[in-house]
Amino acid sequence: MFEISGLSFTYRAYGTAAEHAPVLCNLDLTVHEGQSILILGAPDSGKSTLARIMCALVPRFVEGDLEGSITFQGERIDSRGPWELTDRCTLVAQNPQEQLLMTTCADEVAFPLESLGVRRERLVSSVHSALHRWELDRMMEVNPQELSGGERKRLLLAVTDAIGAPVWVMDEPFDDLDEFWRAHLLSEIEKKEGTVIVFASRYLEEFRGSFDAYYLLDQGVLTAGDEEAIVLAFDRVSDVQFSVKSTLEHVPEHDSHTLVAQNLSIVHPRRSVSSTEPFTLRTPDFRIASGEVVALVGPNGSGKSTLSRVLCGLDPSATGSISFDTAPCDRRMLRSRVGYLFQNPDFGIFLPTVREELGWSLRHVPALAEEQREQLIEKTARLFHLSCEDNPTTMSYGARKQLQAAVYYILNRPFYIVDELDSGVTYAAAFEIVSLLRSRGAGIVLITHDSAFARNIAERTYTIDNGVVKERRLNV
C-alpha cells in the first residue's frame, strides 16, 4: 500500500537565525495491504506531520522541505491532488476542529459522499446508518460546534465509516473517547478488512495484541519491533515512569500565601446539547497554599474549567467567597493573583519573537532597569528551552506550551491554574513546567482527567462528583 523511503521533512523557519531541525529524518516505512500497524510516538515527534504527508496534504498546504519518496498503491503520492485519495485513504485528525467543515453533523458526513458523486438515495441512507453506528442519530441537525470533544471525534469516525475507504490513517483516534467508545473503535479496527495505521502517544493497555506491526517514531525515524520492545522503548522515550513526589524540591523561603474558596456555587453552563440541563457546581471548601501542587480531577464536562474560571476571577460565582490570605478577594484582585494557563497556548500569542512576548509581560513592572529586564528575559527563555529570536506562532506545539508557561513564570503570580497540561506534552515536560512555576513559590492547581498523572504529581487531589468538589484520597 504505502512505500516510503528516505523521507525527510523540515518545517520552514520564520524569523529565526537558526533553521528548524528536521521533523522526519530519512524515514522508511512499508505498509502492506490489509495490515494494521501501531506507531507510538511522544507528542511533537512528527506523528501528525507523517500522517498528513501520507495523505498528500503536506507540503501542499504547509511550507517546508520534503525529500524522499512516498508511493501509495504504486503511484507517487503527489502525482495528482489529495482529492484523488478521498475514496481510497481517510485521515482521522487528532484535533477534530481541523477537519470539520459543515454546520450540521449530517452535512459533515454527507460532504465527502457528495464529492464522490454518490447518488442521493444511497447518500441519505449512508449518512443515517453511519451516524447511527456511532450513536449520533439525535445530532443529525445539530451543529458540530455544540458537541463535546468526544462526540466530535465520533463524528469524524462516522464520516470515515461512511466513506468506507480501504485505508485508514488515524492520528490519536482514541483521544477524547471514553472507555466504551475506545473499545468500540478498537473492535472496528480489528474487524476492518483494509489497512489501518494508528498513531498514538498513550499506550493504553487496551491495545494489547491488537495490531500486526508495531513501530516507534522517535528523532524522526521509525523503528520496528515486536510489541514488548516497542512499548518499552516508548516508555523510556516519554519518561512515563517517574516518581515525582520525592523529587519535588522543598520550596525555598518565599512569602507564603493561601487561597481559600468556600461555599461556592457556580452555574455550570451546558457544554453540549446531549448533556443534562445546567447544573450548579458546589464547592464547599477548596484551598491551596504557596508551594503546593493540588490536582483537580474529573471527566470531561464535569465542571473543572468552570470552577477554574471562578478561581481566577474571570467568572462570578452565585454564592460563597474566595479569600486571599484570609482577606476576601474581588474578581479584579483574583485576576491579578491567580494565573490561568489555558489548555490551548495560542490564546495569548501575538508578538513576533519570544523575547518580545516575555518582555511584554514585564512592561508593568516598574522596578526593573533595562539591563535587568533583558537578563530576566534571557534567563527565563533558557529555563524553558526557548530561543529568544524564535517566532512563537510557528514553533511546535510543545514549544508554545513552554512559552505560555514562561510568560506566566515571568509574571510571578502567587497561584497558577494549569489546564490539561499533560495532553500534548510529555509527562517529563509537564513535570518540569510545574517545578519551574513552583520554584518561585507559587501554588499550582493542575486540572486533568488523567488520575494517574494526578497521583504522580500532586500532593492533594480534589475530585468532582455529581457536581460537588471534594478533596479525595486517590487509591494508590
Binding site: 520564520y14 524569523g15 507540503p59 501542499r60 498546504f61 511550507e63 520534503l66 503527489d78 491532488g81 500569542i349 501575538f350 508578538l351 513576533p352 517566532n391 512563537p392 506562532t393 510557528t394
Partner: protein, 182 residues
C-alpha cells in the same frame, strides 16, 4: 513536489474567504467599543481594512460584504443585509485596489503607508456615503444624516487599527504571506 498553483488556489481561497467572513461577523456582533457619542462602534471595519491590505480586493470584498451581511441577518437587521453586502463589499474592494498602487504583483502585504491611508480614507467615504445614501432612500436624507458621525468614527478607527493590526499580524505570523498570494 509542488502542485500547479491554480488548483491550490481554490481550496485555500475558499477557506480564506470563509474564515475572514466569519471573523468580520464576530467582530461586527461581539467586538464593540463604546464611544463618547451615544452608542457603540463595531470593529468590523478593522477586519475589512486588514483583509484589504493583506489579501487584495476580492477577498476583502467578500469578507466585508458577506460578513456584514450575515451579521445583519443574525443580529436582527435583515433588511440591511443586502445593503451592507454592497456597501462593505465595495469598501473592501476599493481600499484594496488603492492600497496596492505601486506594489508589485504577488506581495500585497507590502503596501506603502500613504497608499494604505489613501485607500482607508476612500473606504471611509464609501462606507459613510453608502449608508447615507441607503438610509436616505429608506428613511429620508435628513434623518440619514444622524448616522454619519458614528459611521465616520467607525471607519476611521477601522483604518487606524487596520493598519496597526496588519503590520502586527505580518510580523507575528509570517506564513500569512503565503496566504496573501492567493
Amino acid at each position: 513536489m509542488k502542485s500547479p498553483v491554480p488548483e491550490k488556489m481554490t481550496a485555500l481561497r475558499i477557506a480564506l474567504m470563509a474564515v475572514l467572513t466569519a471573523v468580520v461577523v464576530v467582530f461586527t456582533l461581539i467586538v464593540r467599543v463604546p464611544t463618547p457619542i451615544k452608542g457603540y462602534i463595531s470593529l468590523c471595519d478593522v477586519v475589512i481594512t486588514f483583509a484589504a491590505f493583506l489579501f487584495g480586493p476580492w477577498v476583502a470584498a467578500i469578507a466585508g460584504g458577506l460578513g456584514t451581511g450575515i451579521a445583519d441577518l443574525i443580529g436582527g437587521y435583515a433588511q440591511w443585509a443586502p445593503l451592507s453586502f454592497v456597501i462593505h463589499g465595495v469598501q473592501g474592494m476599493l481600499i484594496a485596489l488603492i492600497a496596492r498602487v505601486g506594489v508589485k504583483q504577488g506581495v500585497p502585504g507590502d503596501a506603502k503607508l500613504p497608499a494604505m491611508i489613501a485607500g482607508g480614507v476612500v473606504g471611509m467615504i464609501v462606507m459613510t456615503g453608502g449608508y447615507y445614501l441607503a438610509g436616505g432612500v429608506l428613511y429620508g436624507f435628513e434623518a440619514a444624516l444622524v448616522e454619519i458621525p458614528l459611521n465616520l468614527m467607525q471607519s476611521g478607527v477601522g483604518l487606524v487599527l487596520g493598519i496597526a493590526v496588519a503590520k502586527a499580524v505580518l510580523k507575528a505570523y509570517p506564513p500569512v504571506r503565503a496566504l496573501a498570494i492567493h
